[in-house]
């Protein structure tokens, strides 16, 4: 279960999308999320697919890497599809069996909902998680929300916490797997047996994981102290965010893609 977590799994390569300024990517990401949810026709879906495909090619992400971030969501997408089919009852009946009715409208809406979710994941991966290091995402957020500092919102602190959380996801995933193996060899059961038995199995992983996370947090705080961390005031940056003409062009193209989706819907 733990190894499927792909959040924070940055894929390193050299592409236009990778190089683009994270602030532009983040703002456009929001635009695309809105765009995904405005799509409601087949041509709209085709436009969305086309634009996403172009972005995917531009990002130079191998299909297998893309698939590994979509895979965990597939069961949820299927679940949404089924729920929608069962709950939407208007339209022309295509197939009927007792209480279950499948109509042309329910089929289309369920499909649309499922596709929206899948596209949401794909676009999040292309624009953010796979192409932007967590540190850059948090840098972008810090800059974008920077004005909120004036009203005493701890923007820097939140951004720092976020990037540390992302940094530790692979470490904790690995640790969870290790503890799981250790408990299996002591007789814990994660795959077979009753639900209660399996749940009890997971307790043997989650408690040690919590304990070690606290220990890690404590040690990390000391290490940050030792490296003279004292908040955002007066800090410089190795890779400061800088918008170059190429970024503006990328941003403009991405915006054009979103516009196409908005127009066709």
């Amino acid at each position: 279960m733990f190894k499927d977590i792909s959040l924070g799994k940055y894929y390193e390569t050299d592409s236009v999308i990778h190089k683009a300024d994270p602030r532009i990517k983040f703002v456009l990401y929001i635009v695309y999320v809105v765009a995904i949810f405005t799509v409601r026709t087949i041509p709209g879906l085709i436009a969305l697919t086309g634009v996403t495909l172009l972005m995917f090619i531009a990002a130079k992400i191998p299909p297998s890497v893309m698939w590994s971030s979509v895979k965990p969501v597939v069961p949820i997408a299927v679940f949404i599809f089924i729920i929608n089919i069962l709950s939407i009852r208007s339209g022309k009946i295509l197939w009927e069996w007792g209480m279950i009715k499948v109509t042309d409208e329910s089929l289309f809406k369920a499909f649309l909902m499922m596709m929206r979710l899948l596209f949401l994941i794909v676009i999040t991966s292309i624009l953010l998680t796979l192409t932007t290091t967590p540190l850059k995402i948090s840098d972008a957020l810090e800059k974008l929300f920077g004005p909120l500092k004036k009203i005493r919102v701890p923007v820097h602190e939140v951004a720092m916490m976020m990037s540390i959380a992302l940094r530790f996801i692979p470490t904790l995933t690995e640790e969870a797997q290790k503890i799981m193996k250790a408990q299996v060899s002591r007789g814990a059961d994660f795959d077979t047996g009753s639900f209660v038995r399996r749940l009890k199995g997971y307790v043997t992983v989650i408690i040690p994981l919590f304990v070690s996370s606290f220990k890690r947090a404590d040690e990390l705080a000391t290490a940050m102290d030792a490296r003279c961390y004292r908040g955002g005031e007066g800090r410089t940056k190795l890779n400061p965010l800088r918008i170059v003409p190429a970024d503006i062009l990328t941003g403009f193209l991405l915006l054009a893609g979103a516009a196409v989706i908005f127009i066709i819907r």
Binding site: G8, Y10, E12, T133, P134, L135, S163, I164, L166, R167, P170, T171, E175, K178, I179, K181, A182, Q183, V184, S185, R186, G187, A188, D189, V203, T204, I207, P208, V211, S212, K215, R216, E219, L220, T222, A223, M224, D225, A226, R227, C228, Y229, R230, G234, R235, T236, K237, L238, N239, P240
Partner: protein
């Protein structure tokens, strides 16, 4: 000029009650400690776990302040608020666990974290990062994710992060203890270079006496005080005090004392054991002049090797997901009933993958693992029906098993496996207590929470949690890692007792010295295969043979062959006895060889 000067400092850790903030318990960490470290010196700080070494290091980096006494760092009083940052900005600290000190997701971002905090402006910041990465040899990995680095690379990265701050003092707090020997050596080489070239003061807190031997000076801290100090060899020469402080001397010093004892000398002049070179000169002289009437113990007879196979690994292949390279490639190995087998190999050679197959945690994709029960039945790891029974017979402990404890009390945690098997409470109690005894865990502490005891105790509790199933084979991954010298010796003596009680022990290690000393047989993994398997005395019979097998000799044998070469110049044609397991055996073997030579040649 002094870098650090502590004058009678005291420090206690206090825990406060949650309800009313009143101090609940006080534990003394430093108890009137005084120390002086000169600028540019390279010092080792030794001593058992919990003696106050790390506390001292943290006070030096003003991560805390002494309760009493005066501590001056780089000439500034550590309590002087005006100079707080003057001290901290000039001290860099490398911690033990590589994972818990890396902040950046990308290598270069992590190196930059320190100087960014110092507010170093841009062109210089970039230069510092590049220089630091170049210095530790990670330049090519600058854009890699930190999570994908090996342990050794992560620790080099931590050193680069320290270096980028351009500190005057570099503190290593057991920074090499989680590394394999090769990474350790590489890291120490970098640190030595920093000390020589940049004149940085280095304070290395360590349990490794070979590391200490290379330092300018060493301090031993016990119960919050400095109890011994001086040049490392001066400390080793004072054998009584050193062993009283729980230190293990480098192997060459141990061998020197054993040979001297046979020659009738009880103490050694520190100047004779400065390093292996001076020491081997001295010992070869001593051996040549040894009196024919000295009393030498008779050779230790080796145990009977004829035993039957208990666990057989047959033609195992394994490839990781998303990888082409085979970790295990047609791997075969027979484990004999009642032996201690050490599986040795470099990091990433497939040791952990191998042991995960031994009790079926990893299912063999091709090949098989077969366990032979006492009543001669076969259990196959590839067979799902056999798995449950197999896991009862073959107990497995990964590295740092103390991290798997989860129950509120040690008692319950040890009994977890029995509870899963629905064994009734009365039998359970008996088994839990027996297991605690076997693992050397004190009975009276069974009701305590695992989260309030020392690392060594927790490890014993975790081992008891596997022993409670009464396994016939116990498999352990680096059982002694992170323990202090005394803890290591106790761990291996516990494994010896398990063997004596009839348990077969398989231990994975990257420490060839310990494998040579404590194992009956050694299996060396290379290129996914069991490259060499045999008794330590056979595979390391002499340097030529070891080299032809492509092995690095254990340090005891390396040093004794150094002495033998020097001695043989005066005794042409001498035949040396086979190497012994311990320094005492080895010393006796050498002396016996010389006495026999004299008898045969009438000299």
């Amino acid at each position: 000029m002094t870098a650090v000067k502590a004058d009678n400092i005291y420090f206690s850790y206090r825990s406060y009650s949650e309800e009313d903030d009143r101090p609940e318990s006080v534990s003394k960490a430093l108890d009137g400690l005084s120390i002086e470290i000169g600028k540019g010196e390279y010092v080792a700080v030794l001593g058992p776990n919990g003696s106050g070494k790390s506390t001292l290091a943290k006070l030096i980096d003003v991560l805390g302040m002494p309760d009493e006494g005066k501590l001056a760092v780089l000439g500034y009083d550590s309590k002087d608020r005006d100079h707080f940052w003057d001290i901290r900005e000039n001290c860099a600290y490398v911690f033990q666990n590589p994972d818990n000190q890396l902040i950046g997701t990308i290598v270069e971002e992590d190196v930059a974290f320190g100087p960014e905090n110092l507010g170093v402006p841009l062109p210089e910041l970039r230069e510092r990062v590049d220089r630091a990465l170049e210095y530790v040899g990670l330049k090519d990995l600058a854009k890699r994710q930190t999570a994908t680095l090996s342990g050794g690379q992560k620790q080099k990265l931590a050193v680069a992060g320290a270096l980028a701050m351009e500190p005057e003092i570099l503190i290593l707090d057991e920074s090499t203890s989680m590394l394999d020997p090769q990474s350790r050596e590489e890291l120490l080489e970098i640190v030595g270079k920093i000390n020589r070239e940049k004149k940085t003061t280095v304070i290395n807190i360590t349990h490794d006496m070979n590391e200490a031997a290379g330092c300018d000076r060493a301090f031993v801290i016990e119960n919050g005080k400095v109890t011994l100090s001086g040049r490392p060899y001066e400390i080793f020469a004072d054998r009584k005090a050193a062993s009283g402080s729980g230190l293990m001397c480098p192997v060459y010093v141990d061998l020197a004392f054993e040979i001297a004892a046979l020659a009738g000398k009880e103490s050694l002049d520190p100047d004779t054991i400065i390093n292996e070179e001076t020491c081997s000169d001295f010992l070869s002289d001593l051996l040549l002049n040894i009196s024919a009437s000295c009393e030498v113990p008779a050779p230790v007879s080796a145990d009977d090797p004829a035993r039957d196979v208990i666990l057989s690994v047959r033609n195992l292949d394994h490839t990781y997901e998303n990888s082409e390279e085979k970790v295990l490639d047609d791997f075969s190995l027979d484990i004999m009933r009642g032996e201690i087998l050490a599986v040795v190999g470099r990091s990433g050679c497939g040791k952990t993958t191998l042991i995960s197959h031994l009790n079926g945690i990893l299912k063999p994709s091709s090949g098989d693992v077969v366990f032979f029960t006492p009543d001669k039945r076969e259990l196959h790891a590839g067979n799902k029906k056999d798995l449950r029974e197999l896991r009862k017979h073959v107990g497995l402990l990964f590295q740092y098993p103390e991290y798997q404890l989860f129950e509120e009390t040690i008692y319950k945690d040890i009994g977890y496996g029995l509870k899963v098997l629905d064994i009734d409470e009365k039998d359970r109690d008996k088994l839990i207590r027996q297991a605690a005894d076997a693992a050397g865990f004190p009975q009276e502490m069974l009701d305590r929470s695992p989260f309030e005891m020392s690392g060594g105790r927790k490890r014993r509790a975790a081992i008891a949690g596997v022993l409670v199933m009464k396994p016939d084979v116990l498999v352990l991954d680096e059982p002694a890692s992170g323990l202090d010298p005394r803890g290591r010796i106790e761990m291996f003596s516990m494994l010896g007792q398990l063997k004596a009680a009839g348990t077969t022990v398989v231990l994975v290690s990257h420490n060839m010295d310990e494998a040579q000393r404590y194992a009956d047989r050694i299996c060396i993994i290379r290129d996914g295969k069991a490259a060499v398997t045999g008794r330590p005395g056979d595979i390391f019979e002499n340097e030529g043979k070891a080299r032809s097998l492509g092995l690095a000799m254990p340090s005891l044998f390396v040093f004794s062959e150094m002495i033998q070469k020097k001695t043989a110049a005066a005794l042409p044609g001498i035949l040396w006895e086979k190497h012994g397991r311990t320094p005492a055996d080895e010393a006796a073997a050498m002396v016996r060889s010389i006495i026999r030579y004299r008898r045969e040649h009438d000299v």
